[in-house]
């Protein structure tokens, strides 16, 4: 089974619910960290939610010298093992889409892990601009 984010920018209102959902889902120590997803405005009142594409040839995995990023074969998500991460930011620099992020609150790298298979961002998107769909 394969899942994929389906983004319909025309439905996105830039309400940032996805951001909140992401940050709270990954909350640690009562401090909500940085979201892994961003609605980015590209024109007046026009937004696109941008998040990790879990690339097949992932530059983030390749660039990590310490093997902290690995693909979860079950969900297909590229997951960051924080215990192995030394915060060198190589993945942040290498991701061609800018989707490996730095969380300045917890001082660590954050990376979309598809919430273990059912991404909160898609679940909470009020306009269905973002959907997590089965494709095969």
């Amino acid at each position: 089974m394969m899942f994929r984010f389906e983004v319909n920018p025309s439905l996105c209102t830039g309400c940032r619910t996805c951001e909140l959902a992401c940050a709270f889902t990954h909350t640690k120590n009562q401090k909500p960290g940085r979201s892994r997803i961003y609605p980015i405005g590209y024109a007046k009142d026009e937004y696109v939610p941008v998040t990790c594409l879990q690339c097949d040839e992932a530059a983030c995995i390749k660039s990590c010298m310490f093997d902290a990023l690995r693909r979860n074969e079950e969900t297909g998500a590229i997951e960051l093992n924080l215990e192995r991460c030394v915060k060198c930011e190589a993945c942040v620099a290498a991701c061609p889409f800018g989707c490996a992020l730095i969380d300045n609150v917890h001082e660590e790298i954050v990376k979309c892990d598809l919430c273990g298979g059912s991404p909160a961002c898609a679940q909470f998107c009020p306009t269905k601009a973002l959907e997590y769909k089965k494709i095969a």
Binding site: E46, V48, V50, D67, C88, A90, P96, I102
Partner: protein, 241 residues
């Protein structure tokens, strides 16, 4: 290793020199625990759990009086060695030590000589720094105490250091660490600092990541993604109109 199992079970055992990205080395001795087995007839041993292989039938005690005494003494010794380290102070306070019983080591910095930095640099494949001298005179330093020729300015050593001893500075597109200056790649769009040129080159060479990925910062790359997707939407709208 045993430490991972102990932690998995939710038991808090302190450790300073341990990190998943590097091989355990057993230098800080804080993760020491008492082990025994039924068939050992009451014989006990103290081992560093970061290095001890997991075995069937092992009975592990993490907080016996003896173990606590060892941790206390070690933290007491650390307090004499690293009088300025907040990490050490906090840890020691948890064990009821507020002031060291020993003489403060002259000229000591906050380095606890755990080799995390040298080990991570070795994993990286550079080994730009190493332990120099031995015994109580030992320090972590680049060759000849000079600018390390093999350093690529990735900051892994500084980030992994448990007591934050390794200082670095990013200023005006230049990164300085171990007294060595590195050119920082600045985003061609917004001018934000990305990573050092040498580190990027190393990744490009070793891991075959396209060089152009490193030319723009993450913010600008995301904005670019949004722009591209947006343009598709705009075009679709134009078509439907």
């Amino acid at each position: 290793m045993l430490l991972a199992v102990i932690r998995r079970e939710g038991v808090d055992v302190p450790a300073l020199c341990e990190h998943e990205a590097i091989e355990p080395c057993g230098s800080c001795r804080l993760c020491m625990v008492e082990i025994t087995k039924k068939e050992w007839d009451g014989w006990k041993n103290h081992v560093t759990s970061c290095l001890y292989p997991v075995e069937d039938g092992l009975i592990v005690s993490t907080h016996t009086d003896q173990v606590m005494e060892i941790r206390k003494t070690i933290l007491d010794l650390y307090m004499a060695r690293c009088p300025g380290s907040e990490v050490i102070q906090k840890m020691a306070e948890e064990y009821g030590i507020y002031k060291t019983s020993y003489i403060t080591v002259p000229d000591a910095d906050n380095c606890i000589m755990c080799y995390a930095c040298t080990r991570i640099c070795e994993v990286l494949g550079k080994s730009a720094i190493a332990a120099v001298e031995r015994g109580h005179r030992k320090v972590i330093a680049p060759p000849f105490g000079d600018v390390p020729p093999d350093c690529i300015g990735c900051l892994s050593c500084a980030h992994i250091c448990p007591t934050d001893v390794i200082k670095w500075n990013d200023e005006d597109g230049t990164r300085t660490i171990w007294k060595k200056n590195f050119e920082l790649i600045t985003c061609k769009e917004c001018g934000k600092n990305i990573i050092s040129r040498e580190f990027a080159d190393y990744i490009i060479e070793k891991r075959e990541v396209p060089a152009e990925y490193f030319e723009t910062c993450d913010d600008c790359k995301r904005a670019e993604v949004a722009r591209k997707m947006g343009s598709l939407v705009t075009r679709a709208k134009e078509v439907s109109l």
